[in-house]
């Protein structure tokens, strides 16, 4: 079980800023994206970045070894 930190609109969508996700051992960032989109279909159209251990990660990056996972939608407000 991985805890994913949520920010901005995605945290509001899930009504939490920390979501527990049950992901397979060989999961990548892409797997996480599909997992989240299955829970909230709106996410499949949304662009957002994923950070593993405080670094922006590619979709192909494996998640299993990451201690810290964050989901970061872009902010426009200013």
């Amino acid at each position: 079980m991985k805890t994913v930190q949520m920010f901005g609109m995605i945290a509001e969508l899930f009504k939490t800023d920390r979501l527990a996700c049950d992901l397979p051992a060989d999961a990548t960032v892409e797997t996480l994206r599909r997992h989240l989109a299955a829970l909230k279909p709106q996410l499949s159209d949304m662009q957002y970045a994923v950070a593993l251990d405080h670094e922006i990660a590619d979709d192909t990056a494996p998640i299993d070894s990451a201690a810290d996972i964050a989901v970061l939608p872009p902010f426009a407000g200013g």
């Binding site: 920010f7 405080h54 964050a70 970061l72 872009p74 902010f75 426009a76 407000g77 200013g78």
Partner: protein, 395 residues
């Protein structure tokens, strides 16, 4: 200076010494290690362009001018409105209805007459972005929409200028320095412009004044750190904080050469679809109507004239929004309930900022082919600004 060498973007200080006035004014910061006479001369020789004189730009401007940055440019096309004041204390009651760049320039001239303030009362557009950005050493992106943020990024990458980025969402704020000293760019964090609908503006989502203030002041410091050649702690480090939960996180962003190349590709602003805002990326001409045209042709409270205005905000939203005397058909009901729209030859849909009304007008157009249904460009905030510009009785 090489066009693409951000490190050389800040001009070295000239041979001037500080006047007695300046030594007295800056006495407290001149004592700081890392500033001193040389640092103060660097500040005086430097220039910063602040894009957007709103929640982020207004506090940043106060501290940039106070610190003695020699030349401060401000780009903003907007006017001061009452809902701005809670987070933009640069302005006061006397500024209501005035161009932000003018009101800001006056206030900053009073704050520090040693600073040259250059107001640019215009929309940052693909036509003017490169000229404006290249004319300053450091760019502060305090804009409120994705289109402007990508335009700032691409113009800055092309002219080798560092960008201090900041953005806010409700109780959350974030900031980062991009394109500095070979560091990552905004596109390395967000490769492709999302539709503006993905992130509502402050007008629509709500925002806490202190969040904007905290990010704006951090942005001012990062710009000063670049100029003073101090550690630019936010270069490639995206800091996020949430005042509601107390959480603060820092995320590293790596430079991606393919994203830098995308910023350089094709005519500025045309290399791909910019998803908004309406003022920068014009919607199809016939899908929008301007606030001035609406005020000229519309009689409030009347549905049978040549122009009928329809409020498409959701129920309850108007409590905190711009008041308007117009029938309500929430955007969520369109196009399904197009039958509820008035029968006037021109029906103008309006929401707070013009985004949802444009989307609703486009949906009605594509499903019903109703060319008489358009959207108010810039939304009710633009209508309110136009009303204020015309003054009392200027409906």
């Amino acid at each position: 200076m090489s066009d693409h060498d951000p490190a050389s973007a800040v001009q070295p200080p000239g041979p001037t010494t500080l006047s007695a006035d300046a030594r007295y004014r800056y006495a407290r910061q001149l004592r700081l290690p890392g500033v001193g006479i040389e640092g103060q001369q660097r500040l005086a020789a430097a220039s910063v362009l602040v894009v957007g004189a709103g929640g982020l730009g207004a506090p940043a401007l106060q501290y940039l001018a106070g610190a003695g940055v020699g030349r401060v440019g401000i780009v903003d096309f907007d006017r001061v409105q009452a809902p701005d004041l809670h987070r933009q204390p640069l302005y006061g009651e006397t500024a209501l209805g005035r161009l932000k760049v003018e009101a800001a320039a006056e206030r900053l001239a009073d704050l520090n007459p040693l600073v040259r303030v250059e107001p640019h009362a215009t929309v940052l557009s693909p036509a003017n972005a490169l000229g404006l950005v290249a004319n300053y050493d450091v760019i502060l992106d305090g804009s409120d929409n994705f289109a402007t943020r990508y335009l700032v990024n691409d113009a800055a990458v092309r002219s080798g200028r560092p960008v201090v980025y900041g953005a806010i969402h409700r109780y959350e704020g974030q900031y980062c320095v991009f394109n500095w000293n070979g560091g990552p760019t905004y596109r390395c964090l967000c490769p492709t412009p999302p539709p503006d609908a993905q992130a509502p503006s402050c007008s629509e989502a709500g925002v806490l004044g202190v969040v904007a203030g905290l990010v704006g002041v951090q942005m001012a410091w990062q710009a000063l750190a670049i100029i003073l050649e101090q550690t630019v702690s936010a270069s490639g480090r995206l800091t996020l904080f949430d005042l509601a939960s107390g959480r603060t996180t820092t995320i590293g962003v790596q430079r991606r050469e393919e994203q830098v190349a995308r910023a350089m590709k094709g005519p500025l602003g045309e290399s791909e679809h910019y998803a908004g805002p309406l003022s920068v990326c014009a919607a199809p001409d016939d899908l929008e109507v301007g606030a001035a045209d609406v005020l000229d042709g519309w009689t409030p409270g009347e549905g049978g004239g040549t122009i009928a205005v329809v409020d498409v905000r959701e129920a309850g939203e108007e409590v905190f929004g711009v008041p308007i005397e117009a029938p309500r058909v929430p955007a969520s009901m369109l196009p399904a309930r197009v039958d509820l729209l008035p029968s006037a030859p021109l029906v103008v849909l309006c929401c707070e900022t013009g985004g949802r009304s444009l989307a609703a007008a486009a949906r009605v157009r594509s499903e019903n082919g109703a060319a008489r249904v358009k959207s108010l460009r810039g939304g009710l905030l633009a209508l309110d600004a136009e009303r204020m510009r015309r003054g009392p009785g200027g409906m």
